[in-house]
Every structure is written in structure tokens, then in C-alpha cells.
């Protein structure tokens, strides 16, 4: 019933370990939540559960994309950086899943210069920006919304931008959780050398942009 002292001790240690693990999982989940909203996950799962009724290979592909995205999201930490190539790959996974949901309501174009693919960027940095383009653009419109993703450099600056033709910038808009998170990460990683902005694009859409310092191109 009471056990020996060493048994009690190891029981305490196990309990403590359990607590630490629990805290870790919670922290990871909190991060996941700030990157991939539950709303996104549940809708994606519902899409899979619809498509699998008629097209199993396609549902399987979708589920695999979702798995990839979740894994990348769980594995990345605040201070992780990845190549822009990897970041764009994850963005495309997200976009593919969203395209299954919204079909003809969204078109995407990717203007990614070759000379930026090896630049390092904070992992999952652009994710909230693309998510916003869907949430405030595509999901609010019955017509087709175009999303354009740009990545290019001039000298030692990396310019990243996501534009959507569907949302309107309210004069009293404020950062949501996703944007606030991005800003904070940029501040911690780059101080004043990086910036994030949201602006109306002058033709009825909204552009979110990030400027990062990057190593000059090697000749």
C-alpha cells in the first residue's frame, strides 16, 4: 500500500515527469493553435470525410498534405528558421487543402524569384498571412478571390508579400493573434531590421508584407 521509500520517490518523479510532459504538449498545442486554427483543422477534416466517399486516392492525398502540415507546425519552434523553399512548400500544402474546400472561389499565383529560395526565414512565418487572405478574403466572398504570393530581394532585403483581392481594410482594424505573433517573432529575431505591414492595395484588395534582412547574394 505505502511502498518503500525508493518506490515513493520514483512515483513522485514519474508524476513530475508527467506534469512536465503535459506542460510541453500544452505549449506545443498553444503554438499550433496560433498557427493553424482549430477551425481550419475541423473544416479540412470535414472535407476529407466528404471526398473519401467518392474519391479515396484524392482524400488520401489531402489527408497526407494535412499530416505534413501538422507535423511541420508541431516541429517548428519560435526561433527555428528554414529556407524560404521549405516555407513556400508548406504554404503550398496549406493552399492545396484550402483549394479543395473553396474550389473555384480562389485562384493563386506564386511569384517566387529563384534567388530567394535559399534565404532563411522564421519557420511558419507566412502561414498566418496566407490564412488571413483566406479568412478575410475568400471566406467572405461568394465570387472568386485571387491570392498572389510574392517573394523577391533587393540587395540585402528580402521582400515577402501576400495580396488578396477579396478583403477590405477597415480603418479601425487591429492585429489578430496571428499577426501579433508574427510581429513579436520578427522583433525578437531581428529587432528593428525587419518589418511587417498591412495595406490596402489601391484596387480593392489588401496586401500583407514582410521585409527581412538577408545575406547579400553571393556572386
Amino acid at each position: 500500500m505505502f511502498g518503500t521509500l525508493s518506490q515513493i520517490r520514483s512515483r513522485e518523479q514519474a508524476a513530475q515527469l508527467g506534469l512536465i510532459q503535459k506542460a510541453l504538449v500544452e505549449a506545443q498545442l498553444a503554438r499550433l493553435q496560433s498557427q493553424l486554427r482549430p477551425h481550419f483543422l475541423f473544416n479540412a477534416l470535414n472535407t476529407v470525410s466528404s471526398i473519401m466517399q467518392s474519391d479515396v486516392p484524392r482524400a488520401d492525398r489531402l489527408l497526407t498534405r494535412l499530416g505534413d502540415l501538422l507535423r511541420a507546425s508541431l516541429n517548428s519552434t519560435e526561433s527555428d528558421t528554414v529556407t524560404l523553399r521549405e516555407e513556400i512548400r508548406l504554404l503550398r500544402l496549406y493552399a492545396e487543402i484550402m483549394q479543395e474546400r473553396f474550389a473555384a472561389r480562389v485562384t493563386l499565383s506564386w511569384q517566387i524569384d529563384d534567388n530567394v529560395l535559399d534565404a532563411r526565414v522564421p519557420a511558419m512565418l507566412l502561414q498566418p498571412l496566407l490564412e488571413n487572405a483566406f479568412r478575410h478574403g475568400v471566406e467572405q466572398r461568394t465570387g472568386t478571390v485571387h491570392i498572389r504570393i510574392d517573394a523577391n530581394r533587393d540587395a540585402d532585403r528580402l521582400n515577402l508579400a501576400i495580396n488578396n483581392t477579396g478583403s477590405i481594410l477597415n480603418s479601425n482594424w487591429r492585429d489578430g493573434v496571428g499577426l501579433a505573433n508574427c510581429r513579436e517573432r520578427l522583433r525578437v529575431l531581428y529587432g528593428n531590421a525587419a518589418s511587417l505591414g498591412i495595406q490596402g492595395d489601391g484596387s480593392g484588395g489588401v496586401t500583407a508584407f514582410i521585409v527581412l534582412p538577408c545575406a547579400p547574394e553571393s556572386a
Binding site: 482549430p38 477551425h39 475541423f42 473544416n43 477534416l45 470535414n46 472535407t47 476529407v48 470525410s49 466528404s50 471526398i51 466517399q53 467518392s54 479543395e100 474546400r101 473553396f102 474550389a103 471566406e139 467572405q140 466572398r141 461568394t142
Partner: protein
């Protein structure tokens, strides 16, 4: 039962379509990809039950529910990826709520609940009132315009005038005839914005320009548009209390 399916995402609609096909007593008579056309469809063809997505562009599911005439409303089953909304739908007196993703068993249970409710009348009206309480006062109002329905901004409404079972909704340059009672409409639009000045008339408080006393406690009320109306003694005290005069 005649059922509607409303969801802005095509795969989600395909899924809602899947299982009713196996039920001999269920017929899908309408499918809509946005709230406004769903509301039009509901008013035009009065289905028995609507499977209604909560998150949609334009009018969301709760907003659609709030626009319906309580006595004629269909039974509502809210379908949502959101937990918070699902709980709201429960308070809403919805027949049921389906959380995405859901399986066939869960869908059948929802259908069973719909069947039960169809046999016991009085459900839908409660759901509409609850939706209104939940959404708060509507910022937009669905009105017939020509052969279709149009959403107008409630702040653009100057005056509401009861006429039997109908209400004339006046804006600066238009007049719409809505088959609703004044009391029901005022409940939906919120009593903060509109005030009754007569048994059969209510005005937008923001549109009141001036008041001049008449005899026996009545007043002449002038709207900013220049229109003159009579404020009856019975409603004067409330109007003064509300406008701080």
C-alpha cells in the same frame, strides 16, 4: 420531410447530400452556397428542415435564422466546425447541431431529432427568437424588392409603418412591404434604434429632427427628411426617456 442544404463549401454540401439519399422520408429540395440565397429559398419554398452552416460569406447561418418569420420558420440543424458556435446553436433551440466532421450515425441521430420535432409543433418559432437573442439586434434587414429579396442596412431605415399583417419599411428613397408584424420587426431590429411614436408607427431615433407640442399632450414630430408625423401622448414619455429630452 423536405430539406435544404446550406453550406458555402462544395465538399461540405456533398457530404450533407450523402445520407439523406438513403432515407425514404427525406427529400433534398434545395441546396444553397450562401446565406442570402438560402434565406430567399426558405421564404419562397418553406422547407421542413434546413441543415445550415454557421460560417458563410455575407449572411452567416445565425443571421439567416434571425431573419426568418418565427411562425413560418423551418426546423434548423446547425452544421459547424466551431465548438463555440455549436453551443450557441444549442441555446438557439436548434433541433440539433452537427460538428464537422460528423459520421453517418451522428447524422441519423440529427434526422431522428428532426422527425420527433416535426411531430411536435412550436419548435421553429422558439429557434428564431433564440437566434435573434444570440445575434443581438440585426444590423441588416431582408426585404422583398421586385421578385427577389434584398438586404438593407437598418440604419438606412427611417420609419416603420404597420398595415394589417404587413409593415411598410421606409428608407430615404424606397418603401418595402414586409409580411411581418411591427412588434416582431421591432424585436429583431432592436429597441435602441427605433422608437414607437404611434400604435402603428415607429421611427429611427437618429432620424428625428424636432418636436413641437400640439394639444392634449401630443406632439408634432419632424424627421430630418422633412416628413411630419404625430407623436401620440401614449408614447411621448418613452421617447423622451430614450432621447434624454
Amino acid at each position: 420531410m423536405r430539406a435544404f442544404i446550406v453550406d458555402d463549401e462544395a465538399p461540405a454540401r456533398a457530404k450533407l447530400r450523402l445520407w439523406p439519399a438513403k432515407q425514404p422520408d427525406v427529400e433534398i429540395v434545395g441546396e444553397f452556397a450562401d446565406g442570402l440565397s438560402a434565406a430567399q429559398g426558405i421564404i419562397a419554398s418553406a422547407p421542413d428542415v434546413v441543415f445550415l452552416d454557421v460560417q458563410m460569406p455575407g449572411l452567416g447561418g445565425l443571421e439567416v435564422a434571425a431573419q426568418l418569420e418565427p411562425e413560418d420558420a423551418p426546423l434548423l440543424v446547425f452544421v459547424t466546425a466551431y465548438d463555440a458556435h455549436a453551443l450557441a446553436a444549442f441555446d438557439l433551440n436548434a433541433v440539433d447541431y452537427l460538428l464537422k466532421p460528423y459520421d453517418e450515425d451522428r447524422f441519423r441521430r440529427a434526422l431522428d431529432r428532426v422527425r420527433e420535432r416535426l411531430e411536435s409543433p412550436g419548435g421553429p418559432a422558439a429557434a428564431v427568437h433564440a437566434a435573434r437573442a444570440r445575434v443581438g439586434t440585426s444590423e441588416r434587414l431582408l426585404v422583398p424588392a421586385g421578385g427577389a429579396l434584398r438586404l438593407i442596412d437598418c440604419s438606412s431605415v427611417h420609419m416603420l409603418e404597420a398595415d394589417d399583417n404587413y409593415v411598410h419599411v421606409h428608407t430615404a428613397d424606397q418603401r418595402y412591404l414586409v409580411r411581418r408584424t411591427l412588434r416582431d420587426l421591432l424585436q429583431q431590429l432592436g429597441e435602441q434604434r427605433f422608437v414607437r411614436i404611434h400604435k402603428s408607427t415607429a421611427v429611427n431615433i437618429a432620424e428625428i429632427d424636432s418636436l413641437a407640442p400640439l394639444f392634449k399632450g401630443d406632439y408634432e414630430l419632424r424627421l430630418r427628411s422633412g416628413k411630419l408625423l404625430r407623436l401620440s401622448r401614449r408614447y411621448a414619455a418613452e421617447l423622451f426617456a430614450r432621447t434624454g429630452r
